[in-house]
């Protein structure tokens, strides 16, 4: 750091740099080993497996693209794509809209606001099997709380989880119940907007809607982007709710890709076919993420750009 280099000193510096690098690799070693053993290695192996037939009993057998051909002709594969697509297309925008709406309401100072924020965030902390089982009970057609409430206002509720037209809707409702995490990220974004901007706009005569449309939305667009990417990736991988609440049924109405994959891997022991499914899911997620990233210059507004202008 303090070296004024002559040739000899420069060589010493090289030595010191080498030592620093060595220590750096030691510190990074857990991550490097983890990347190789638990991520990059398995990705490559799973690509190889997707071109093979393997069920634990005999050695993997290379069968070329047979798994992918079989998948193409499999009705349930297309059904699982359809279920995951409908779920993502509905639950991600719906969840984000509600989360943003709540964040706007919660972004103020008044008595009890911290308690309210905590209540809305609560479902995120306890998401899991217990809550999924609770939802099964809530959606029970005869005795569940939802249909009881509907009956009180004179509506006869459907038999949610046993009716193939309603089961997916029920799962979307449960996902909306858990928007607290997304809400909190929006809230953080809103709190990053300097108050002066809105004050100035108000003096210039901008209404509430105008402030929201032309100040708030652009100023939190990077947060919206973050939530959108995470939302898509999460929605395409839903497993626990679908497995515990409906187990893919009724009549495959909630057969998410992850549930379909789980069955092939761990119930039918079709490891090759499951790996092929995983790769298709991987490619779908990559393409969608890339599209969102590519579209971001059109609608995401970054701080640096603003300062440069």
């Amino acid at each position: 750091m303090v070296q004024k280099s002559g040739t000899i000193d420069a060589r010493r510096l090289g030595k010191r740099e080498r030592r620093e690098a060595m220590h750096a690799y030691v510190f990074m070693s857990p991550v490097i080993i983890g990347l190789l053993v638990f991520t990059l290695g398995p990705i490559i192996v799973s690509l190889f497996l997707s071109f093979s037939n393997y069920n634990l009993l005999n050695d993997p057998k290379w069968i070329g693209v047979d798994n992918y051909v079989k998948m193409y002709g499999e009705r349930l594969f297309w059904q699982s794509l359809r279920v995951s697509a409908i779920y993502s297309i509905v639950s991600v925008p719906l969840g984000m809209t509600i989360a943003l709406f709540l964040a706007l309401l919660l972004n103020r100072t008044m008595r009890g606001i911290y308690t309210l924020r905590a209540i809305y965030y609560l479902p995120t902390v306890i998401s899991g099997v217990g809550v999924a089982m609770l939802w099964r009970w809530i959606f029970n057609g005869q005795y569940g709380v939802i249909n009881t409430l509907l009956r009180n206002v004179g509506v006869k509720g459907p038999n949610w989880l046993l009716d193939e037209n309603y089961a997916l809707i029920a799962l979307i409702i449960t996902s909306v119940w858990g928007v607290g995490g997304t809400m909190l990220i929006f809230l953080a974004g809103l709190q990053g907007i300097p108050v002066e901007i809105n004050e100035a706009a108000e003096i210039d005569g901008a209404g509430k809607w105008g402030q929201f449309r032309y100040i708030t939305l652009p100023m939190i667009s990077h947060v919206t982007f973050f939530n959108l990417v995470l939302g898509i990736i999460g929605a395409l991988q839903v497993f626990t709710d679908a497995y515990v609440i409906t187990n893919g049924g009724p009549n495959n109405a909630t057969l998410f890709i992850a549930v379909y994959l789980y069955r092939h891997a761990f119930q039918f022991l079709n490891f090759g076919y499951a790996a092929a499914l995983a790769w298709v899911l991987f490619i779908i997620v990559m393409v969608l993420t890339l599209l969102v990233f590519r579209s971001s210059p059109l609608w995401v507004f970054y701080e640096q750009e603003r300062q440069e202008k």
Partner: protein, 289 residues
Amino acid sequence: MMTAIARLFRTRTGQARLGSIATMVVLLIGAVFILIPFFWMISTSLKKAGDVYIAPPQWIPADPQWENYVTAVTRLNYGVHATNTAIIVVFVMIGTLFSSSFAAYGFSRLRAPGRDAIFMVLLGTMMLPGAVTLVPTYLMFNSIGWVNTFLPMIVPAFFGNAFFVFLTRQFYITIPKELEESAMMDGATVYQIWWYIMLPLSGPILATIAVFTFVATYNDFFTPLIYISDESKRTIAVALTYFQGSPRIGPQMHLLMAAVTMSIVPPILLFIAAQRYFVRGIVMTGIKG
């Protein structure tokens, strides 16, 4: 009275107050919707078996059956599953805290060729669907005899979690280097600096990671589902699903709800105790993400 109300609608402060009241009402209605499922859960857990399946239901059980909880604990072997869960959670937390801060020190303080490239690859894996690595990872653990042990849940935690390494690195970058430089002058090694200087300064970020790791590991269902087959090794999350009885209607809904209620107590307590860490962690990701 009328003029007071009229003033509310006409004046600026009046309108602002009306806005606040409307906001509060909407937020309270929403909060009720969030809380109803919990209320329903506790209510069911305290009912007699015969009172569960009646319509219209009793919202508040006339004669709360607290012994349902005792029955649920005994029937489900709750103690065994809670112990299994606790063992896994503790080791995963140790592994995650160690690997995050250790690796983050390298990524934030020491220079080496390829360091930033490795970091970018690490960040990229955050977007990777877990399914892609699932089958080979399972086969690997199976071939070394780790299936039906806790090791597939615990060991990966010691090799870094991309998101937490990222969070810790961002935190370390904000810490001034003066302390480390003077320790370096006194002849301390980088490992001593990490252990004696960086770790003691890492309280807030490690607490954040600890609460998120606890919640994620405690709630994890998929990993123990595929790796654990012995009943005596199941975690709470997996054990609950075997308790639900017939797929149509659980015949002992009151006991199941008692078990579910118990299962969500630890994360709720942690949330109440460490609320600010949850919020802080989210705020960091939200802003920096």
